[in-house]
Symmetry: C2
């Protein structure tokens, strides 16, 4: 009844050839030749273990292993097949390979659960082609009301419609989205690498995700007065850079003191005129706050606003919010989390419950279906890099938990 690690490694080793870069990383952009070839590989593998395969109007690959009652909504499991540019082999691909190993083991036993199981290899989760993350899962879930495929353009100006045509799909799928997925599917489980160091630092082989952290993004413009860096006395300055710097240190130190309840980052910081002999007149900067707790996001925002009022007085500058938007936190399904933890306990595998600090297809799916995620530790927390790696013994434990979870969900 256990999964076979060697089989996982075998499929993984073949899959990572599609998009391998000279530096040992993976560049497998959605709709590319290597992406298409990886789909062809997976399709053949799926058919070989008794699954029926379709490609949906956006290019998501779905293989369904039939349950004993095919009239019931299937359980879904999977992750994304695309990568960032020169990313790692584990990000996304591991979740697909893991789900397929579960099905392979069932097929080998000639076991069919009560409900069908659909394994999905999503397209364009990373947004590396069109700059919009989770495009595949959004389309699958029917979320893409605001855009048409002709509006998405890659960096060469080629539209999603053109890519779909090249893929043998309709340039403007009609309807572009499928019927609501909560009518068609029962739940979604995603196994993924953590892309952080929490599991490694705390010594766990497996994580159960409590929520996908929400994101609050603020863009600020700090306006002082550009002036001569020699003849303007310190007292007469309205230095936008120092005001922005003070605010950045404040944001960092508060987040550091928050002991993991949120993270905050000043990532973008642009200075005008940015000349060594001119007191900076303007700074635009971005603030990103992430927490699994929506009220924490609000509180931190208010703390920052409160502090920057003080900064305006101290440095004689003005601050305005240029842009602000939220990506709400998506809590994982409590019942699914419990089934995963019960599976872990049955297998005597210790796990840690933790939020996911980065976005995943599960962030989209979790807004439509009961959804849960299983995390595998990332070595040194590194991802989106050729150095991305995970321990195969950790992976074996996680896939065994996934297998038991899917069995109990599908055979319910």
């Amino acid at each position: 009844m256990n999964i076979n690690l060697q089989k996982i490694q075998d499929l993984f080793a073949v899959l990572e050839k599609y998009g391998k870069t000279s530096t040992g990383g993976i560049t497998r952009l959605s709709y590319s030749t290597e992406f298409h070839e990886a789909q062809v590989l997976l399709k053949a593998f799926m058919e070989n273990i008794g699954m029926s395969v379709i490609i949906d109007p956006l290019g998501n690959l779905m293989g369904t292993y039939p349950g004993r009652d095919t009239s019931l909504p299937p359980i879904c499991c999977g992750s994304h097949l695309d990568s960032v540019i020169n990313g790692g082999a584990f990000d996304g691909a591991l979740g697909i390979v893991s789900a397929l190993e579960c099905v392979r083991s069932w097929h080998q036993e000639n076991w069919h659960p009560h409900k069908s199981l659909t394994v999905i290899a999503f397209i364009e989760e990373e947004g590396s082609r069109f700059g919009h993350v989770c495009l595949g899962s959004r389309g699958f879930a029917g979320d893409m009301i605001e855009n048409s495929p002709a509006d998405f353009k890659d960096r060469d100006g080629k539209s999603l419609s053109e890519f779909l045509t090249g893929y043998g799909l309709s340039p403007i799928p009609n309807p572009f989205t499928t019927v609501p997925i909560n009518k068609k599917y029962a739940s979604f489980i995603e196994l993924h690498i953590e892309q952080g160091k929490v599991l490694e630092n705390t010594g766990y082989s497996v994580g159960i995700v409590s929520a996908i952290a929400g994101i609050k993004r603020l863009s600020l413009l700090i306006s002082g007065k550009a002036n001569h860096a020699g003849s303007t006395t310190m007292q007469d300055r309205h230095d936008a850079l120092v005001a922005a710097a003070d605010l950045s240190v404040f944001i960092y130190k508060n987040a550091l003191a928050a002991q993991g309840s949120y993270v905050a980052t000043v990532g973008k910081f642009n200075v005008l005129p940015n000349e060594e002999n001119v007191v900076p007149g303007k700074v635009s900067l971005s603030i990103e706050i992430r927490s699994e707790n929506t009220s924490t996001l609000e509180n931190v925002r208010n703390l920052i606003i409160e502090y920057y009022k003080k900064i305006c007085l101290e440095y004689k500058v003005e601050i305005e919010i240029i842009n602000e938007y939220d990506v709400p936190a998506v809590p994982m399904d409590k019942k699914l989390m419990r089934i995963i933890s019960q599976s872990a306990k049955a297998l005597k595998i210790k796990y840690k419950t933790l939020p996911s600090w980065s976005g995943h297809d599960s962030m989209i799916m979790g807004q439509h279906l009961p959804t849960a995620m299983i995390f595998v530790p990332s070595k040194n927390g590194i991802s989106h890099s050729p150095l991305e790696s995970s321990n195969w013994l950790d992976i074996e434990k996680a896939v065994n938990i996934l297998n038991l979870t899917l069995r109990s969900l599908a055979d319910h």
Copy 2:
């Protein structure tokens, strides 16, 4: 024996037409048509008041009013004729017009001092054509050993040699520089607008410059680790931006507390990768310190280095000095300063002794000849702007002091 303010205003009003912009500013770049026309105007004015005029191999305009003994090295007085792009009418031009009013008044009286007086209208002080400040005075002083005229290029790629040719001058003057000026001239006096607010804030009409502040410039590269802004815990970060921000605030607050003995500016600040969802991995920044006291520059530099060692530990980053160079402070000549202050006292005009926080041709001349500067207050400290202005009554006082100073120097 006094100068005539109306005559100053008349010449000033004609001169400011050359390069007037639609926004009321002045764009009179070296070697431009408007610059050349302004030289033609000044040449005619000079000849009309008994001066013999030459243009030196670089394009500096010099008119000499003969003394009773023309074998003696002349006294020099003047400033620069070029402007920044859309700068003000007073910066540079006022010093030339003021010197010429002194000579005009002497010529009107038919008075000739013992020594000759040479009024210089320097070319390319601002560096707005070639990006090198004080090119005219450097060339005049023989300082340009490191470059040939073919190496200086403007933003369109046109070389100084080409401009010189277009000006009817030799493309490669041979010798490029003139004989050492301390063999040819006795001293240099420059009247200039302050370009700061010290005189205005303290209520003086005239300033006597103690020194041109020295400049220390440091370019630093702060290296942390670029990482995911969600999945990297605050504890695991190596955030180059926060380290740079902390250092910037430290530099500012120390300079503010120094009560005018120096100024310090972080003017350039570039972040990599500068993405809102990535912890910044690298920041390059410039630090500029100005003081009339060379030991202050050294002490502030050492204070910054000491502090950034602390920052490396606190933020787990590395800092390296990419570039460092000094422009030494140039003290003004004590004897000349005394003659100027005696002239002010004789005229019952109060003056303030203060450093110049920006560079001037006197910075170059002061390295070769006894040199002094007289400052006129700038309204609101503004310069390099169409809003640049000075009070004509202040100007009248300053030019009377200049006149008395030149008379006593030249008739010595």
